[in-house]
Structures are given as structure tokens and as C-alpha cells.
């Protein structure tokens, strides 16, 4: 049933490491003994477009997709994308938003305005926390770990054992990048803790 399943929607734009982030979350859940479904779209949808991955875990999970209004957590690597997918959040759900703006083509070329994302999220009653993923990644000396910082932030409140997160990362991240990703994960936890 819905209440026994945790549903997380991870979004952003192509190239932001969304698929790895959702892979880490779903693997951590599986290593914690849960049933897991993860769903994402490949192909044409990837060419710089909006990318979304959905993760659901619990005792038994059937649907790989989250229903509108049923996500417990929204993790967005980009502000506008958080707004785009915000209708997936349940009334009690919360959002973690990376403080980064990537202009879509219509905004780049001056035909549209980049929306006031934080204002609109507030107007919609979305409970969100802004994370300076890029600033933190720069401090860690690697701009590629923004996604792991966001995963670390997401891990707070997901109630999965720390060992599952570490094992998931060990299995999915190349050895040489593991150290900085562990740091990024820990930093994300601090930021959201």
C-alpha cells in the first residue's frame, strides 16, 4: 500500500548525474532488504532535456512509477525542474533543491522568463530546502559530486542503515572517486540534518 512504500522522484537536466543518484538510492534500499523499483527514461529524452528517475521501496512494491501527489521526497538538481515535477509531491512530502539555474532554450533566447521557482514552490505549499550543491562541491574540489551531495541530503530521514549507503556507493562508483564521494555524501547529510 501507498503508506508502506517510500517514493522518491529525482530530477534535473541531462548530464547532472541523476541516473547515478537514483541508482545509489535504490541499491541502498535493496541492500537494506527492501523490495525496490526504479524507473527512468533513456533515448531521445536524454539530449539535454529534462531527466527524471523515480525510486520506490518498501516491503513489496509493484509499480515502478510514482503517482501524482504520492512522492515523499523530491530531489532536484536544478531549480526549475523542481517546480516542473512538484505536483508529484504528496501533501506531507518535501523537496531538496540544488541552488542552480540552467536556462531552458526559450529562456536562453529571451522568449521566456526563468520562473521565480522558490516563490512558486512556496505558493504551492511545498516544503523545500535549498542546497548549495555547487558551492559545496567546489569546496570539496570536484564539481562532479553535486549529485552525491544531494543523495547525502536525501538520505536524512530515509531511515536506511549507513552501511547500505556505503556499500551501494562502493558498488557503483569507481574506486578512485570513492573517497570524494563519501565526503560529498557526508556533507549532504550535514546540510540536511
Amino acid at each position: 500500500m501507498q503508506s508502506e512504500t517510500t517514493s522518491i522522484l529525482i530530477c534535473g537536466t541531462g548530464g547532472q548525474g541523476i541516473l547515478l543518484a537514483s541508482e545509489i538510492i535504490s541499491t541502498a534500499a535493496m541492500l537494506s532488504g527492501m523490495d525496490v523499483r526504479k524507473s527512468e527514461i533513456h533515448g531521445m529524452a536524454q539530449r539535454g532535456g529534462s531527466v527524471v528517475s523515480q525510486v520506490r521501496f518498501g516491503k513489496t512494491v509493484h509499480s515502478p512509477m510514482i503517482e501524482d501527489g504520492a512522492a515523499d521526497l523530491l530531489v532536484s538538481m536544478e531549480k526549475l525542474e523542481a517546480l516542473r515535477w512538484s505536483h508529484f509531491l504528496s501533501p506531507a512530502g518535501r523537496a531538496l533543491v540544488c541552488d542552480l539555474e540552467i536556462a531552458p532554450p526559450s529562456v536562453s533566447t529571451g522568449q521566456a522568463q526563468y520562473p521565480d521557482v522558490l516563490g512558486e514552490l512556496s505558493a504551492r505549499g511545498v516544503s523545500f530546502r535549498l542546497i548549495d550543491g555547487f558551492g559545496e562541491a567546489r569546496t570539496l574540489g570536484n564539481l562532479r559530486v553535486v549529485n552525491t551531495i544531494m543523495v547525502g541530503a536525501a538520505s536524512v530521514g530515509l531511515d536506511l542503515p549507513d552501511a547500505s549507503w556505503r556499500d551501494a556507493m562502493r558498488g557503483l562508483i569507481p574506486e578512485k572517486a570513492l573517497e570524494v564521494n563519501f565526503k560529498a555524501f557526508d556533507r549532504g547529510r550535514e546540510l540536511a540534518g
Binding site: 535493496m30 525496490v36 527512468e40 533515448g43
Partner: protein, 596 residues
């Protein structure tokens, strides 16, 4: 992203439906696999190529050849698999129908990955009809664990009933992941080739007997389905009985856990006795299926009962929990309406070779009959340089047809735009037709030396095979000349001036010509250095000509372009070349911002 399949776990690993099919093939002794890439099927062969060296695996020029090759390997007694997207089975339909009559020796699994919702396709065709039309048994997994298990069963069914088996997935099954328990590989000996022309040559005299065997086989398979363990009844409230398959069954089980549900996993031929038992158990029957009323119509006509389906569910689009809830008359979850935000459509990458080609077409007020690949994005503004697309390879035939309708005048501002892989797939015969039938159009082969849209696969024109093994490279120029094209010219599409003059000459030529725009895809090319475009604000007059490229690395703020240095591609200087004032230049000394 390369995914390790050896993630150490409690014995389960997280696999996508596609990875699970590849795993199932490997565990069950498959010897040989061949395919042409197509979303959402591509990762099946990629996974085999990357993780399962015991399986001989290769990319084929197209789906028809892939199926013929695995058909031959099956005749030779090998266990085989091919995988294709739904429209790929249209291409492979000819061998598919005949192989049904001829039958399998080594097990044949044909994976059709359908794309309801058209995430990356031109239609929503429901390939379950192919199973019925070709009289081939069909299995439909509803998650990754089943995808693995059904691949094993498909091989067994194929050999037991001497038939190819259609393993039908949808995007949500192929690209969703779930835990899968792994098993070691079971070696199955190759049976070896035994000559048997009466079974393998469907001339009418032999094919009549084959057809009779196919009908007998279908009856036997229906009975097999009655006790097939994956066709399963979940007992619950008997006032409503729901029949569903694939991902729809997963949605039904989630939103209506108390219902009596028949999950059909073998969906052709239908298990009539099992259905009869289920129907007698419940007061009312409802069918939940994405796409066409495939199950619904058969159940209604067989049992003459009002099994309702499409009265409550859409024919179009991909289902989700909300669709299924609504169709079953359950209350929807409260949810806000989606926010109205600017779309983020897919774009050609920064540095993409195709951008130069479409920009030049647009500049000379020309356009293209288009084809299937990343370059279909050439239709998008600001390039606006594509008029038509039908299917793989059709750009060339359409150009020829437009000329037949309107003469040379009709095509002197058009080229047929087709990628290297698509040209090999099914463009060559179109070119033969143009020359043979006296056309005068120009074909632009956009050779980026990879099959790009599906993520970067090798093809016969790249000189490499599936696992990167070097191979004979198909010489595109020589192929075009052999088709009878006298003028075949090669140009770098980022040489805007050179390409413009060549296109002008060739489009004016009163005979078929080919222009090959050759520059590797940015995904497969590691450029030296980290140069980015740099703006000289004093020289910039804000004319927005750089925006005519539609480059994702260029935005416009306060009357001037702004370069996104993370996206800007080092070896591309298109913006510098189109700037009329020389205000954009490429700084090759500049360190990129990204500290690696």
C-alpha cells in the same frame, strides 16, 4: 553510465528489465545474439556485449538481418536471442512470419520493446498483434525478475514447441529496475546443423504442412498456458475480476490489492480454460491493458461476455497508477496541477556535427526530407531544416517521390538527410531506387561515425564491432558510387563555407548526388584541450546571429551572448565562424571551469 553487474548484495542485484533479459539469456545457455539498436531495447545487446563474453554477440545492419542471422544460428542448433524496438519488428516482419512456419531448432527469443507514450518513437504500435498475426507465442514480463525468468521459459517453450517466442516488453519494463536473484550459466550444447529442406523451405508444397503444424502448435500452447505458472490468479473480492498483463498488472495490484486479478503473462495464445475458470469465479470482468484492446476483444468474442476495457481506459499513451485508478472507478489521490514552466526539449549537443549541416541548409533557405536519429532534431527552431520523417531510411524514398510529384523544381531546395547508421540500415536501397528511376535529388549522409541517438553503438560504417573489435569498414563513398551516383563528395559539416558551396553545386546538379558530411559525434571524441568560446563585448553588436545555431551552450542576456563554459565543446568554433563581427573567438589556452 556503465553499471557493474557484480554489485555484491544479499544474492540479489538491481537490474533493469533489459539487463535482466540479457542475464536470463546468459544463464540459460544462449550462444548467439544479434540486434540493431533501438530505444527502449538497446541495452539488451549492450549488456550481453559488456558482461557476457560466453555469448557471441553482434550488431546487425538492421532488424531484418539480425533476425535472419539468429534464425540461421537456430537452424544450426544454437540458442539465440534478438532484441528490437517495436518498429524494428516491422522491418523484421518478413523473416518473423516465415520463421513461425519454419520453426526453431535452437531456442529463438525475439524481444520486442514497445514504447507506449512514445518516449523515443514515432508511434505507439502495439506489437502484441504481431504475435497473433504470425501465430507465435508471446510472453510479457511485469518486472525485472520476471524478465529474467521468462527469458529462460521462452527458450524452453521455443525448443519444446519448435517456434520462435516473442518476449514483449514496454519502455516501463525495459527501463525500470528491480531486484533479481542470479544463477550461474547453464551450458547447453549446440545441437548442430541437420539438413531438412522440407522443414526449412516454405515453398507452397511444404508450407501447407507447416501451416497445419502451426495451428496444432497454437492449440497445444493455449493448453500449456492454462497451467503456465506465470499466468496467475490472485484471489480477492469476487464482485470484480480484473485481467491485466505487463506493467498494467503491476499497477492494478498496487491500486486494487483486494481485487480478484488474473495476471496473464503468456498473452498469446490465450489460455482459454484458465480464462473460463476465472470468469466463472467473478461477477464482472474488467480488462486493463495499455494500447489496443488486444485481450479485451478476444475475451469478448470468445466468451460472449461484456468484458469491459477500453470503455474505461485510453487507447493512447502510457498508463500510470492514476490512469488505472480512474479506469477502475477508484478515487484519485489529491494532487496539485502541474506547474506551467518553460519546456526543456531535447537539443543537438554543443559541438554536434549535425548543427553545421542544418545551419547551412537553413542559411541557403533549403530544408530536408528527414530520417530517424539525433538529427531529426534538425526540425526544431532555430534550425527549422527538416520537413518530413516516416521511418528508418525513408528520407531518400520521400525525396524521390516528391520529385515524381513535382519535378526537379520540387526538390531543388531539399536534400535527403540521413545518418550513417540509418543509411546502412535501409537507406542504400532508397539510393539505388533514386538512381535507377532517374531522380536528380541530393542525399546528405550525415556521417558522425556512430549510431548516436541510442547512446553510441558501432555499425558497419564505423570499422568496429559490438565489443570494439576492429572490422572491415563499410566504405560509404564506394557504396554510393556502386549504386550509380557519379558525384559523391565528402565535407566537414563544421566547414560552413565549404559545405555551403558544395551543397549549392550538388543541389543544382541534374542527377543524383551524395554529400557526406563527415565529423565524429561529440560523444565518441575526446578533443584535446579545454578551449571555450570567448566573447569580446566591445565587438559584439547584439545581432543574435550566434543564436541561429541553437547551441545549448549559448544563452542571451542583456543584449549579448553568454557562453556556458561547462557545455561549450572545445573543438567546435561554429559561433566564432557565424559571428559577423568576429566578436566570438575560441580561446584554446583558457582552463575550463570544471576542476577534474
Amino acid at each position: 553510465m556503465k553499471k557493474p553487474l557484480n554489485t555484491r548484495t544479499d544474492g540479489r542485484v538491481l537490474l533493469s528489465g533489459n539487463e535482466a533479459i540479457a542475464r536470463g539469456a546468459w544463464e540459460n545457455g544462449v550462444h548467439f545474439a544479434a540486434a540493431y539498436p533501438g530505444t527502449p531495447s538497446t541495452e539488451i545487446l549492450e549488456t550481453i556485449g559488456e558482461h557476457y563474453p560466453e555469448i557471441e554477440a553482434q550488431w546487425a545492419p538492421n532488424e531484418k538481418v539480425a533476425l535472419e542471422v539468429i534464425g540461421g544460428a537456430s537452424f544450426g542448433g544454437a540458442r539465440v536471442i534478438t532484441a528490437m524496438k517495436h518498429v524494428g519488428l516491422n522491418v523484421a516482419a518478413d523473416p518473423f512470419f516465415s520463421l513461425s512456419y519454419i520453426g526453431a531448432t535452437g531456442g529463438i527469443v525475439v524481444v520486442s520493446a514497445d514504447d507506449p507514450g512514445m518516449h523515443s518513437s514515432q508511434n505507439e504500435q502495439d506489437n502484441r498483434h504481431f504475435a497473433r498475426a504470425a501465430k507465435v507465442p508471446m510472453l510479457e514480463p511485469s518486472d525485472s525478475a520476471e524478465a529474467r525468468d521468462l527469458t529462460a521459459l521462452a527458450l524452453d517453450i521455443s525448443e519444446k514447441f519448435e517456434t520462435p517466442v516473442l518476449l514483449r516488453t514496454t519502455t516501463r519494463i525495459s527501463h525500470s529496475s528491480g531486484p533479481v536473484a542470479l544463477a550461474p550459466r547453464k551450458e547447453v550444447p549446440v545441437k548442430g546443423y541437420v539438413r531438412d529442406p522440407r522443414r526449412r523451405i516454405p515453398i507452397p508444397a511444404f508450407a501447407k504442412a507447416m501451416h497445419t503444424r502451426v495451428e496444432e502448435r497454437t492449440r497445444a500452447l493455449s493448453e500449456y498456458g492454462d497451467t503456465f505458472p506465470f499466468n496467475r490468479i490472485y484471489e480477492g473480492d469476487r464482485s470484480l475480476g480484473i485481467i491485466a498483463s505487463g506493467v498494467s498488472a503491476a499497477y492494478v495490484r498496487e491500486v486494487y490489492p483486494g481485487a480478484t486479478i488474473l495476471k496473464l503473462t503468456m498473452t498469446w495464445p490465450l489460455p482459454w480454460k484458465l480464462l473460463e475458470r476465472f470468469i466463472s469465479m467473478v461477477k464482472e470482468v474488467r480488462v486493463v491493458e495499455e494500447g489496443d484492446p488486444f485481450l479485451e476483444e478476444q475475451i469478448r468474442s470468445h466468451f460472449l461476455i461484456p468484458a469491459e476495457g477500453k470503455k474505461h481506459f485510453p487507447l493512447e499513451g502510457e498508463f500510470n497508477l492514476r490512469t488505472v485508478r480512474k479506469g477502475l472507478g477508484l478515487p484519485a489521490l489529491p494532487a496539485a496541477a502541474p506547474a506551467e514552466v518553460p519546456p526543456r526539449p531535447p537539443m543537438l549537443c554543443a559541438g554536434c556535427p549535425h548543427r553545421g549541416a542544418f545551419w547551412v541548409l537553413s542559411k541557403i533557405k533549403a530544408s530536408s526530407t528527414g530520417d530517424i536519429g539525433c538529427y531529426t532534431l534538425g526540425l526544431m527552431p532555430p534550425l527549422n531544416a527538416m520537413d518530413t520523417t516516416i521511418c528508418m531510411g525513408a528520407s531518400i524514398g520521400v525525396l524521390g517521390g516528391l520529385e515524381k510529384a513535382g519535378g526537379h523544381e520540387a526538390v531543388n531546395r531539399l536534400v535527403a538527410a540521413i545518418g550513417d547508421s540509418t543509411f546502412v540500415h535501409s537507406g542504400i536501397t532508397g539510393l539505388v531506387d533514386m538512381v535507377y528511376n532517374g531522380c536528380t535529388g541530393t542525399v546528405m549522409i550525415m556521417d558522425n561515425s556512430i549510431t548516436a541517438m541510442t547512446g553510441g553503438q558501432q555499425n558497419p560504417a564505423t570499422g568496429k564491432r559490438l565489443r570494439g573489435e576492429p572490422s572491415a569498414r563499410l566504405d560509404l563513398e564506394a557504396v554510393c558510387r556502386a549504386c550509380g551516383v557519379k558525384s559523391v563528395r565528402v565535407v566537414d559539416p563544421h566547414d560552413l563555407k565549404g559545405l555551403e558551396s558544395i551543397l549549392r553545386e550538388e543541389m543544382a546538379r541534374p542527377e543524383v548526388s551524395v554529400v557526406i558530411t563527415r565529423r565524429p559525434c561529440v560523444m565518441i571524441r575526446k578533443p584535446a584541450g579545454k578551449a571555450t568560446a570567448v566573447l569580446d563585448p566591445a565587438a559584439c553588436i547584439g545581432c543574435r546571429r550566434c543564436l541561429s545555431l541553437g547551441c545549448p551552450a549559448i544563452s542571451f542576456r542583456d543584449g549579448k551572448p553568454v557562453i556556458n563554459t561547462l557545455l561549450c565543446y572545445p573543438d567546435c568554433r561554429l559561433c566564432a565562424d557565424v559571428c559577423p563581427k568576429g566578436a566570438l573567438s575560441k580561446d584554446y589556452r583558457r582552463e575550463a571551469v570544471d576542476a577534474e
